[in-house]
């Protein structure tokens, strides 16, 4: 057992922290949050040059063949700095799906472009039920002359507004078992009939409504097998959930660091507010939440890396980390007081992230339902 970072991981972490501190100051974060695109092409390409987009892809697809755990370490740092942009969509939701389930042809076509930062992907899964279960997939893809016609509305689709391709999860067969008959299509975002509308959200992340209005795609655009797409979705959701936990750990650490620093500096009643026991205990609880989240997340990430059974560990990580991140950012706001209530301050950026992260891929209650099942209840 080794709970520490390897030398390579520590280097990656340090490099990422330094790079982002310099290249992604909060001024830029704020600016991108307010923009429609939500990312900086300049920063995007710098990240690609550092090899971040292809971190876990095999070398032959332009990647650097690091493991999933390394990716989570990078994501932790991105969460620390709350880097806006479609990294999560392109690499985790898009890239990993193709890496896991794509044909060799698809891998050759897409992965190098993702790795180089040329191509942005987005995963269109959820629909107006806003749930992550197979039964909620109502968007239909109907086979017609060797092609498929997709019709339906996807909601809360991250970064679809800037995506080149959208992975659309659609129903190709109606059976009793909702997990059967689902197929994943790689849809060119510029295809006729694809209509993307940006939604305004709490975290100012770029969630979209994507309407597929009789969008025609070829059979070759299927990722994996026809009707057998749900296990792929499940797999990528699990990885994405851990990846999101890693972002949360980084964000929670940042909120803690900011609050602690402020508590050391801010003087009221002739002493730093960090010397008041109430503030000290808030900080102690925050630090405990961050520690717990980190190790529980690392464990789940390690299981992904090792290919071990992981449904339970991932649900535990998300259930705990998402609630912990919420507590930490709320306490941070309490420590910052009025100053934290201003747009110019950074802490609310983390609070917003915490809320969005709590919901995506299922909240803690949803995860606990999985845990109960896994525990044999």
């Amino acid at each position: 057992m080794d709970l520490g970072l390897s030398e390579e991981q520590a280097m990656l972490k340090e490099l990422a922290r330094d790079f982002l501190q310099k290249e992604c100051p909060k001024r830029l974060v704020r600016q991108l949050d307010e923009s429609d695109e939500g990312y900086s092409s300049e920063l995007w390409h710098k990240m690609a040059e550092l090899g971040w987009m292809g971190l876990v892809f095999p070398e032959k697809y332009g990647g650097s063949e690091r493991n999933f755990l390394d990716l989570t370490i990078l994501l932790e740092e991105m969460g620390y700095n709350i880097v806006p942009g479609p990294f999560f969509s392109a690499v985790v939701l898009g890239g990993l799906t193709i890496l896991t389930a794509g044909s060799e042809e698809q891998k050759i076509e897409f992965l190098p472009k993702i790795a180089s930062g040329e191509m942005i992907l987005s995963l269109a899964l959820t629909e107006p039920t806003a749930s992550y279960d197979a039964a909620s997939v109502k968007t239909k893809a109907i086979a017609r002359n060797g092609e498929y016609v997709i019709k339906g509305t996807k909601l809360f689709v991250l970064n679809a507004n800037v995506a080149d391709y959208i992975l659309c999860v659609a129903r190709t067969k109606e059976t009793k078992n909702p997990e059967d008959g689902i197929t994943i299509f790689l849809v060119d975002a510029k295809s006729p009939g694809v209509k993307c509308t940006l939604l305004k959200t709490l975290a100012r992340d770029k969630q979209c409504e994507v309407v597929f209005d009789n969008v025609t795609v070829s059979e070759k655009s299927i990722v994996g097998e026809r009707d057998k797409g749900w296990p792929i979705v499940k797999d990528v959701l699990q990885k994405a959930t851990v990846a999101k936990c890693a972002e949360m750990v980084g964000g929670a650490q940042a909120a803690l660091d900011m609050a602690v620093n402020y508590a050391k500096e801010r003087v009221q009643f002739g002493r730093p507010i960090g010397s008041f026991q109430a503030i000290q205990h808030y900080c102690a609880n925050m630090a405990t939440d961050v520690s717990g989240s980190r190790f529980i997340t690392y464990k789940a990430a390690w299981k992904v890396s090792e290919g071990l059974p992981l449904a339970l560990d991932i649900a535990i990580a998300k259930a705990w980390t998402s609630e912990a991140y919420g507590r930490v950012t709320l306490s941070a706001h309490q420590i910052f007081g009025a100053i934290g209530f201003t747009m110019d301050h950074d802490i609310h950026l983390y609070y917003r992230q915490a809320k969005a992260a709590e919901i995506i891929f299922g909240d803690a209650d949803f995860q606990r339902a999985i845990i109960a099942r896994e525990l044999g209840l």
């Binding site: 959820t126 107006p128 039920t129 806003a130 749930s131 279960d133 039964a135 909620s136 909601l155 809360f156 509308t197 939604l199 305004k200 959200t201 709490l202 975290a203 969630q207 409504e209 003087v267 009221q268 009643f269 002739g270 507010i273 008041f276 109430a278 503030i279 919420g326 709320l330 706001h333 309490q334 910052f336 007081g337 009025a338 934290g340 209530f341 201003t342 747009m343 110019d344 609310h348 609070y351 809320k355 969005a356 709590e358 919901i359 995506i360 909240d363 209650d365």
Partner: protein, 396 residues
């Protein structure tokens, strides 16, 4: 013990409710500003409404008749406040400050001239004050304030910086706490002034809040000359005047009533929303959560009722108000957070989003509820007050 309102009070409640149903402008409902969300447009609507309310005598219903008040009972004021908040009537937070703190302070400490000049105008809804209390280094520790007021001839000259001055850019006057004796100890040497916001030397810098609204300001006083007669009460005794004003009727009933409305809307949403063929209202976890919100809000309401009841008995709540405020702040945060969980992704959507539900109130409340329980009278300070003033625990 008696938990019912009198028949007369119930009649009054119905009258208020009916009146509000007619008088709240449609445009306000469309704008639907929550707390700290007022814009210039909604502010104008609110000021108009405020005058209408004053014509009913309901803006400052407790004032003596000579100042245009109705000398309304504490219980009716409670009812009025409850109905105003529940109906989301157009009233800025500064109205509360002006009507419930400033004017009563003037009535208590001010000169006859000040009473004549300001109190009736306040009751008529003609003028609004902002508070000039906090400074960058005087938040929870308000008594550390450094803004100076120096007596020069017939005037006071003010220099310094205030912050968190809510709606200072829209208010007519500032209710300013400034240091008049820099050599005295921290709590001595503070005085209260009325400052016309149009006085030369005042510069306002907006602070945009996390709801993306301009509600707060930094206010800079640069050789601001005000007439000596604008001193309120005793020179150098301002701190004590402030402390007494803190114990003025502050009721959290408005928060509880507003939150009640939110909870009812969440219940309605859960009943009307079907996910995969099943109404949300059938989910036992959601049922449990909504029930708990109802429980907490009912407790909060009783705590607010207690404050009004104490006043009605001639008692002066102090730590009881702190309890009530801490409690409702936590209930509101709980409501916002539980609301997001119940709404799921929909809880993230902001007002201008096509798919937003409940007018995006929950999402906005996630942000606005952060302001309750922080700042000057933070929950930590309130708990200190409960412990020391309420329970007699020692300071050292």
């Amino acid at each position: 013990m008696d938990f019912k309102f009198t028949e007369d009070e119930e009649v009054f409640r119905r009258e208020v409710r009916q009146w509000l149903e007619q008088e709240i402008p449609q445009r306000w409902i469309e704008l639907a500003p929550g707390i700290w969300e007022e814009t210039e447009e909604s502010w104008a609507l609110a000021r108009e409404f405020q005058r209408k309310l004053s014509q009913k005598g309901w803006l400052a219903p407790s004032y003596p008749k000579e100042y245009g008040g109705l000398e309304l009972s504490h219980m009716k004021r409670l009812i009025l406040a409850e109905e105003l908040a529940y109906s989301r009537a157009p009233l800025s937070i500064e109205v509360e400050v002006t009507v419930n703190w400033v004017a009563p302070s003037i009535m208590l400490f001010g000169t006859e001239k000040q009473k004549k000049d300001y109190v009736s105008s306040i009751a008529k809804g003609d003028i609004i004050f902002c508070l000039g209390y906090s400074e960058p280094n005087a938040g929870s520790d308000l008594a550390s304030l450094q803004t100076r007021a120096v007596e020069v001839g017939d005037e006071y000259v003010i220099n310094g910086q205030k912050t968190w001055c809510s709606y200072g850019h829209l208010a007519d006057y500032c209710w300013l706490a400034a240091r008049t004796d820099p050599d005295a100890s921290k709590h001595e040497g503070i005085s209260i002034f009325i400052v016309d916001m149009k006085t030369p030397g005042i510069t306002i810098r907006p602070l945009i809040n996390i709801l993306d609204r301009h509600s707060f300001n930094e206010v800079f006083f640069d050789d601001v000359h005000i007439p000596k007669e604008n001193l309120v009460g005793q020179k150098n005794k301002g701190w004590y005047q402030l402390m007494i004003a803190l114990d003025f009727e502050r009721s959290s009933i408005g928060y509880a009533a507003a939150n009640q409305r939110i909870i009812e809307e969440l219940i309605k949403y859960a009943k009307e929303t079907t996910r995969n063929g099943e109404p949300l209202a059938n989910d036992p976890l959601i049922r449990n959560e909504l029930a708990q919100l109802a429980v907490e809000n009912e407790v909060a309401r009783m705590m607010a009722y207690r404050i009004a009841w104490m006043f009605s008995k001639g008692l002066h709540p102090s730590y009881e108000s702190s309890m009530s405020m801490v409690f409702i702040s936590e209930v509101m945060r709980h409501t916002a957070n539980a609301g997001v969980r119940i709404l799921g992704h929909y809880g993230e959507l902001d007002r201008d989003s096509k798919w937003a539900v409940m007018n995006a109130r929950i999402m906005r409340m996630c942000l606005s509820s952060l302001s309750i329980g922080v700042g000057g009278g933070s929950n930590e300070i309130q708990r200190n007050i409960i412990a020391m003033r309420g329970l007699g625990l020692p300071r050292k």
